[in-house]
Point group: C2
Chain length 189, copies 2
Amino acid sequence: MKPETRKDEIIKTAAKLFKEKGYSAVTMRDIAAAMGMKAASLYNHINSKQEILKEIIISLAEEFTNEMELIKESNNSCIEKLKQIVELHITITSQNTFGMASLNSDWMHLEEQLDYYLKLRINYEENFRSVLSSGILNKEISNKNTEVILFSMLSTLRSLYIWIPSKEDINIKKLSEQLSDILINGINK
Amino acid sequence: MKPETRKDEIIKTAAKLFKEKGYSAVTMRDIAAAMGMKAASLYNHINSKQEILKEIIISLAEEFTNEMELIKESNNSCIEKLKQIVELHITITSQNTFGMASLNSDWMHLEEQLDYYLKLRINYEENFRSVLSSGILNKEISNKNTEVILFSMLSTLRSLYIWIPSKEDINIKKLSEQLSDILINGINK
DNA sequence: AACCCTAACTAACAAGTGTTAGTTGTATAT
DNA sequence: ATATACAACTAACACTTGTTAGTTAGGGTT
């Protein structure tokens, strides 16, 4: 829609570098070099290094929070909701693999926004947990340890950013079905 | 067995800090303060910051490599081998959660040892993949996309270090069975 | 008593860090 | 033609970084 501003380009470039080495190991001079300019020039477009991290992480976290809310409130079965959560992760991750790396690995370097991020994260996990719990309650989901299930599914979904880029031209629908199938039905014959 | 040297203490302390903020964000002064000494004093026991990282990561990587080799060469069924891999991860992770954080998040900051680490890692993944493949071949494992299965299981196992510390006094055998069950049989009723 | 080893210290360095101030060239609007 | 805004620049800052050199105190061995 709206054209990409110079600020957007900086954030995108930074996210790429953050994915490779992590927020702390990337310097403003690294980002500037990748943009073909000098470090000081970055400050014509952004206010601080910290702001870059915030922009990357918070927008993604809010996107997850909002979409999760929609899924949770829908009238679908719990299994169906789980499938939608899987697709949600695959969709967002394939659109922004670099940002997802920061979201998962560099959130602890947020400063002012750390509490807000943690709030969103906890909220997301609680909604995820409640989908699982009600699925167990109404016998859609086998009565195994909810926390272990939650941990296992979330671990896989959160790691997608490491794995997705290596797959050239991913088919979101197909990958989503394959992964849902494995997470829900396992691999046993 | 052998008593813990001062060097071991430093490595352990460093690993704890690395888990919280990552290798790059932890300074030698941070490590020294956590040890109750000055940064320069650390160099009576270690040669460099890089050496600390190497000690943490390489010993763990070699442990995984060796154990995986044993599992692979055994005469157990593939499903049984998968269960042993799950238990391997849980055992090592619960013994050294801090080190596992570095292994998973800070390996890219290895310098001289990076190539060696990558060799071990690739070898490990190939052995894992071969267990899955032969399981599919002899119909123990359903014929789903091997790469998606590998990714999903590895993601969960590699994330254990984030999750295990919160469980007070874990029962390795029990957790191992629960997790294997979920990874192999899924959650469907 | 003389020695050495260990393990801490203080002081300092050279390089690198995020960031600010002030300047300059260029395109657009008046 | 003149003014304005944008987006780059150079130079520099105060601080932090990993690391080295040299010193000191204590305990064990000769």
